[in-house]
Symmetry: C2
Subunit: 744 residues, 2 copies
């Protein structure tokens, strides 16, 4: 272009050159979008706006949102679930407080429901066929909300139908080790019904493990020791406290993977290829049914056989025995347990709802914020406490947007996912449908599922790059309650660790697959986080909040016991909102990639400490991994310096964009879709599932664990070497991504 030449007066590379650029006309999206303030390419986070937003997030509105969201059961694809889709669309399309655009999108997914004609039943049957005891088919209607056609009876979603009958055994948590222990004790498992308690192993894993030992059916209950700090009497439980009533039953998905079971890696559109049912993997191999501890007590306290190990004992008030079968006294002699499961698989249309605020300057950079919408029953805590916060946050942002006061630098996408409870289905289908676009453009994914488990402290899980932005946000929000502490200062009292870089800091948990962040981090390699308010662990050892997935998880439960006054909800809204705004509005992305250095170093040290000898015995050197980690550390430190230098000047937006791309895409470099072919969706070489107890590179740890009992030349040892190379290449690739972009 000639004018450039005319303007360029040979000032040399270091000269500052002022050039007029034309911006507003193009940077603000056209059409029906709301007016926006004048913006410029170097637009940065406006701390005044941030403060305004923090101030406008109202606890009382969150409470009202929750009341509405949890007023009726809203199981995935139910009429009420669909009504909530409309509610979300209406809120996000509101002319005064809505977003730029909102849409629902449907997937046709395979869900599992109990039969309406034939209820699932668990019975004790004597040798002549008389039923001596029937477990409750529904929870006790204590508050008037536990009955009705919309309350789905307790069941184990995706457990196959069947009516196995056999002697009862007690199998603790149903882990592989638990069944081995029973076998070691000489308990014959073939054809039995195994009574297990929640915790320890995943739901589906209990049935998978049981089936390996010939067990014919699985019962799962919640022990008061695990959920109620031992208490179990009606006067000690809801509605008299936050504790689980004796009839309460945890529902849940027993599917071992996530995403629609019929369409792995493909979005579940009507026309999509679907697996034949016989080719579906991940469903429980044998019937399973959850029951309350009231019924579990009857079964367990009447069991015969040797006493269970001390670690297997719970709080049902009797000595837990192993079985098989019931005590010979009384009329239970020779009685068996019959589990009648009549679950049905159904193709259903499940909706995601998406709402967007278009970015003013970089509309092609997305900050995603999501939660699921579907519950098992009323789902006041799970997931409506998160959705109530989501709606309040979108209202405040939408209002500023519609007023023309504010528009984010980058695009913000709010998501209400469908059918999460069945296996993160809505979010997974979304990532399958928009794989490329999301990988290319997404800055981070913020998940706020259950926003308040309890009102004691903030907690967060995430990958290292989001640690610093969470710290920044939590330092700016006051902790709920009487103290003057920041969220951060309160958090560090509850969860902390000694960082080799920062000293004592709050400890960020790592991301498993417990909510909708899973496909984003594991499948797409997008930096993700899950944030919530939670328990004081010095006051309760409950596995999770007691009414989890029961018909007692209601508005009153939250209002009276979980967060009276909703100040913890408000605190989560402020913190999540603060994180969101920092990600969407900061000129420089607040992703601190050098925090991965500490993680990599600790993974490496753990490998050296716990696997080093074993590897050395097989002539496998960790040297290349040491080198790779050192390269990463150097590259990250040097990037931090370049970033500081840029920040100290008046950098041009294109340069900041280039640096931001390095920050955004770092997480992607740890993806290797060929690393773990047997682990569906898991491609992140640092956060894939790890079986052992060593906090290190999962592929390496898992391979070592498999190889440890094999001969030196085995395929298993070759796999150890392959996994080591995979992680070396990933870390080297990550370092290359952080180095100056024009380095060879």
């Amino acid at each position: 272009m000639q004018w450039v030449k005319v303007l360029g007066l040979g000032l040399g590379g270091a000269a500052l050159l002022g050039l007029g650029i034309i911006l507003g006309h193009f940077a603000i999206p056209k059409g029906t979008d709301s007016p926006a303030p004048s913006i410029s390419a170097p637009q940065d986070l406006d701390l005044e706006i941030l403060k305004t937003i923090m101030g406008q997030l109202e606890a009382s509105r969150i409470r009202e949102n929750l009341r509405e969201l949890s007023s009726e059961p809203h199981l995935a694809t139910s009429l009420r679930d669909e009504a909530l889709v409309q509610l979300l669309l209406q809120r996000w399309r509101d002319p005064v407080s809505g977003l730029d655009v909102a849409e629902a999108s449907e997937y046709e997914v395979l869900l599992s429901f109990p039969s309406q004609e034939q209820p699932n039943i668990v019975e004790v049957v004597d040798p002549t066929g008389n039923v001596l005891h029937s477990c409750l088919q529904n929870e006790e209607n204590i508050t008037g909300e536990q009955a009705g056609p919309d309350v789905v009876p307790p069941y184990a979603a995706y457990a196959p139908p069947g009516t196995p009958q056999g002697l009862l055994v007690y199998a603790n948590r149903g882990t592989e080790e638990d069944f081995k222990e029973l076998q070691a004790q000489g308990i014959r498992l073939e054809g039995t019904i195994a009574l297990t308690r929640y915790g320890g192993a995943g739901r589906g894993a209990k049935a998978v493990n049981a089936a390996k030992y010939g067990v014919a059916g699985v019962l799962v209950y919640t022990d008061p020791a695990d959920i109620n700090d031992g208490q179990s009497l009606p006067n000690e439980t809801f509605p008299n406290s936050w504790r689980l009533p004796p009839s309460g039953v945890e529902r849940g998905s027993y599917f071992e993977y996530f995403g629609d079971p019929l369409t792995p890696y493909l979005p579940a559109h009507h026309s999509s290829f679907r697996l034949d049912l016989v080719n579906v993997s991940g469903f429980p191999p044998i019937p399973a049914q959850p029951i309350g501890f009231q019924d579990a007590k009857y079964l367990l306290c009447n069991l015969d056989g040797p006493s269970a190990p001390a670690a297997w004992q719970g709080a049902l008030g009797c000595d837990y025995k192993l079985g098989p079968g019931f005590l010979p006294n009384g009329n239970l002699t020779d009685s068996q347990v019959r589990v009648s499961v009549h679950n049905q698989l159904e193709l259903r249309n499940s909706s995601n709802v998406l709402g967007m605020i278009r970015g003013a300057v970089e509309p092609d950079r997305y900050v995603l914020y999501g939660n699921h919408r579907d519950s098992w029953v009323h789902g006041a805590v799970d997931p409506s406490s998160g959705t109530a916060v989501l709606l309040e946050l979108s209202r405040v942002l939408g209002t500023l947007l519609k007023k023309g006061t504010w528009r984010p630098r980058r695009s913000i996408v709010f998501a209400s996912w469908g059918a999460e409870e069945f296996g993160l289905i809505g979010s997974t289908e979304f990532t399958e449908e928009f794989f490329s676009k999301l990988q290319e453009r997404t800055v981070a994914y913020i998940n706020v599922d259950i926003s308040v488990f309890a009102n004691a402290t903030f907690r967060a899980q995430g990958t290292p790059p989001v640690q610093s932005v969470i710290f920044s946000a939590t330092k700016e929000v006051r902790s709920p309650g009487p103290s003057d502490l920041s969220i951060y200062d309160n958090w560090i009292k509850h969860f902390n660790r000694s960082s080799s870089v920062y000293g004592l800091i709050p400890s960020l948990g790592s991301l498993g697959a417990g909510s909708d962040y899973a496909p984003f981090i594991h499948f797409l390699g997008i930096s993700s986080m899950d944030i919530a308010y939670t328990y004081d662990r010095s006051k309760t050892s409950a596995r999770i909040y007691p009414t989890y997935h029961t018909a007692f998880d209601t508005f009153d439960y939250v209002d009276k016991f979980v967060d009276p006054g909703f100040s913890s909800h408000q605190a989560v809204a402020r913190t999540a909102g603060n994180v969101l705004l920092r990600l969407s509005d900061s000129f420089f992305l607040p992703l601190n990639v050098s925090d991965y250095s500490e993680t990599l170093r600790s993974f490496l040290q753990a490998a050296q400490r716990d696997l080093g000898d074993l590897l050395k015995q097989h002539s496998i050197s960790l040297g290349p991994l040491v080198t790779a980690v050192e390269k990463f550390e150097a590259a990250a430190a040097s990037l931090d310096q370049r970033k500081s230098a840029l920040q100290a000047g008046s950098p041009d937006p294109l340069q900041v964009r280039m640096l931001n791309d390095q920050l955004m895409l770092l997480e992607r470099t740890f993806l290797n879709p060929r690393a773990f072919p047997e682990e569906r969706y898991y491609s992140h070489v640092l956060w894939a599932p790890r079986t052992g107890s060593v906090a290190t590179f999962p592929g390496l740890a898992n391979a070592c664990s498999k190889a440890s009992n094999t001969d030196p030349g085995s395929e298993a040892w070759a796999e150890v070497q392959r996994q080591l190379s995979i992680v070396v290449v990933a870390v080297e690739g990550a370092a290359a991504t952080l180095r100056p972009v024009a380095d060879l």
Copy 2:
């Protein structure tokens, strides 16, 4: 930022806002880089500079480059190959005409060489063990360059050692159909030696197919009908013409995949995991050896048995028979052929050389331009004709760079790949090592391997987005020779097609896996092209230039017969340079994504026409694919409109960057690493290998071909549906990438 607020006077979204931006200081890389002209973020292609560059590319310098490069044999990892690494580094580090930075990087790769102690021999042996005929072990030393320790004797790289002996059969081109035909004619194949000719099937495939029929060893020769337009006498061949002398033998890799055989998906660093040899796939299962047509004539013209079909006849001057065994007349009665192969696998260090010109404005966007360096013998045509052009182009650009006259907008990376002849090894290892960085940042890959096959016409292969930039470049360069035509106008006379969009245009070929572009397009999804000057197909039907992979591919061969005066080399340098400059310097990336609309539509129409009935019989609808293609067409057309609107104004650099990212990343959206798990590296759902003759979506076509003989409910038909869904998702994802970035 406060000053933004002050400046922003509420002008509204459509107002033009002039803002000063600071640029030069940051945009020009620091350090030892050469001075550069003042640059600005909207820096665009400078047509004057382009013209200068075109004018400075000298035919005589290309000739001198070629003389030096081809002065000695430079087989991969040979001393001379390593000397050329130094030559490249010296050129690219030259203070007057070098690049910003140049480095060599080594991989430890598995190559295959003939034994120096035990030469490979092909003999005719009579029943008592007397050798009646020995094929030449080396080509005839006609010009003084066919002998010497650095001339590797003809061999089939990666063919296993062994000394099979058996009756000779003639198997045409060694395709699956050829062996079926032999079987149909009642020729007993078990234990035979199959004589095949080059062409039709890949090298390795001939051995793979033969082994399936029990053949014990394979000979491969070049028929004068295929390479010399029938001529074969010494006075008709080199050095008297460009034709192949009777003793010439085509060497080549018989490995079926590409990349280092021991380290699929991993860079072949010293410490990388390597497969055990027993687990390596893709090597020929039986010994194989190439021979010249002089020896082939002796063998073939003495064969017994029925006459070969007319299509199997060649130009050796006798009636080709099928065997098995020789004619009973003469002393060949009951004689067999013994093939002694003593190839050895060796781990060798092979280098890539990379040179970079850092981009002034967007250094994190790479335009890659590469060719391999290794040859079989002197390799004047293959690959030095490409390297000679590469060096001239880098000299001209480097000189402007060092003078401070020019610096590209984006970074340019020149590459000299190692060990291509063994299976694109250097380039593949490079893509494995820098997978993430390259995928995120590479605009396009330009491959110029053999730059001049012949001097009649330009030809190009590439994916649709590069068609337009090749057209632009070829319209600007004069065709070599006496005519006044542009390269484009000459090209269209030789290769053309009727486009539904443009009418008659030159036809761009599609990319297979014949050179180093393969890992870039198939594994990384980077828009790629391969360009060259080539034959007048009305004048020769040679399969490839006659001395291909022989010891006759020398400087004199090029200088006298291929391109006297080197004007075709110059034309390729200008065209490739023009394409390179357009990609590196244009403000708007010259990738025309909407040209994919025509391709997708034609693939769809082919599917409808040739597979539609079959699919309908199995109740498989192409409807979703029709919809997806329509969405792509609409999205591409709308993007073109937005681009035109932007171009008409004075767009700001960040906006152009966002649009350019859509253009650059479109090709990536067609990648699916899980689409073809059995096809190593092939992840591009449009350009993966296709077995049938229908030019359509390869996954769908291949699956249909496999399913066509199976029952309706078969797994093969399920795979058809899966492949259909895979391509639908890819095309829908591509459309989503092209739509406005802030659309939901």
